[in-house]
Subunit: 206 residues, 2 copies
DNA sequence: GATTGAAGCTACACTGGTGTAGTATTCGTG
DNA sequence: CACGAATACTACACCAGTGTAGCTTCAATC
């Protein structure tokens, strides 16, 4: 009974680098197989290491995913804020809107590994992670609502339930974000921009 | 060592009734705990029966959930088709739209147990079930698209990417459907109707 | 009221994942 | 070049779920 030869030791890393590496491994798994495939065991395997190594850095899968979100959230929100307009340019609102859509599409397609875990979060995520993402979503809606109100005020638009409108816009954005991430060939990004343009024309927006 | 007393036998049922009962049990679990809580074991427990009973009727969890979807899909699509307008009434399109929204809201709030498994499906559902629901979604989008095109043709609306528009409308509808099912107190149904009404006014829809 | 077949139950073997105690290896330092 | 701290590995006990073989009970029939 040839007892299996001892496993070759993985390169030794200080906790900080190990931590980074493990988070990268988790991200790679999520990007490849979705949240379904993620487990302490899978992460250890992906990193070429054994489970106790993972436990030496994180207290379990929940805290690990939370830490991952912690790291990715910053990047994602930064990208998002950069893509959204900062204020309303009344004279060229349409062009600004189109440019924003274009930026959002580019943002997601350029870095799907960042966006997939966020857009697909409901599927099998631990509750704390899901709650956190929902909180972020709420923040984005708040910002969207502020933009809407500012826009309506400046352009003298008619009254509108801006909370509902913000929900709707974010829902649509997420829907197409999900498609961009999961079936990148389904809709060309520019087609989405064109659709918004047509909509603006249809609305007779000046 | 007091060996546990033999479990009391559950009422004997012919396969058909047992099948129905098990599907009901699965539905109750999904309605209560979401897809996360569903397993052969949990379903057997919920039905007051042991696992082999479940296996005598279904080949496993996948087929069981598929059968459940089979049963619920019919009801759901029937309700949905009943709620959507059948044709375009050009002279009172706005009222028809408002009525449709009202009907959709009523449909979901009246029977959340039917709609929760569909609206929340991505979370932890076996692939075949998810694919099936996605197919249904595609059907609904197709219908929505036909309505849009008919409406635009009749009312001489401007050109629009109706595929994108249908995606958007369904995405918004699902978003609010999910909220209605998960946080019924967040938005009053009538508020959603009002929002659509305001939107129509804002569009200067005649 | 005995028989018997359908419908349930128990018990077991298996899988894949968790978490940890104890041991082996590496590598920087003196 | 020896040693000790840091880092990794092995091995185990545990859990929850799966799927099945074989035994038990029930109830319809004669």
């Amino acid at each position: 009974m040839a007892t299996r030869p001892r496993r070759r030791y993985a390169a030794r890393l200080p906790p900080d680098e190990r931590r980074t590496q493990l988070l990268d491994a988790a991200l790679a798994i999520i990007d490849r197989d979705g949240y379904a495939g993620v487990s302490i065991d899978a992460i250890a395997r992906e990193a070429g290491v054994t489970r106790p190594v993972v436990y030496s850095v994180f207290d379990g899968l929940g805290p690990l995913l939370y830490a991952l979100l912690d790291r990715q959230e910053r990047r994602a929100l930064r990208e998002l804020v950069a893509a959204l307009p900062t204020d309303i340019a009344p004279e060229d609102a349409d062009a600004l809107l189109l440019e924003t859509v274009r930026r959002l599409v580019a943002m997601v397609t350029a870095d799907p590994a960042t966006w997939r875990p966020i857009l697909l979060a409901p599927a099998g995520t631990p509750a704390p992670v899901r709650e956190r993402i929902e909180r972020d979503r709420e923040i984005v809606r708040g910002r969207m609502r502020a933009l809407l109100e500012a826009g309506l005020a400046q352009r003298g638009g008619p009254p509108l339930d801006t909370e509902i409108a913000a929900h709707s816009l974010v829902a649509v954005a997420e829907h197409f974000g999900r498609i961009l991430v999961e079936e990148p060939d389904r809709f060309d990004g520019e087609r989405l921009v064109d659709a918004v343009r047509s909509l603006l024309v249809a609305l007779g927006s000046s």
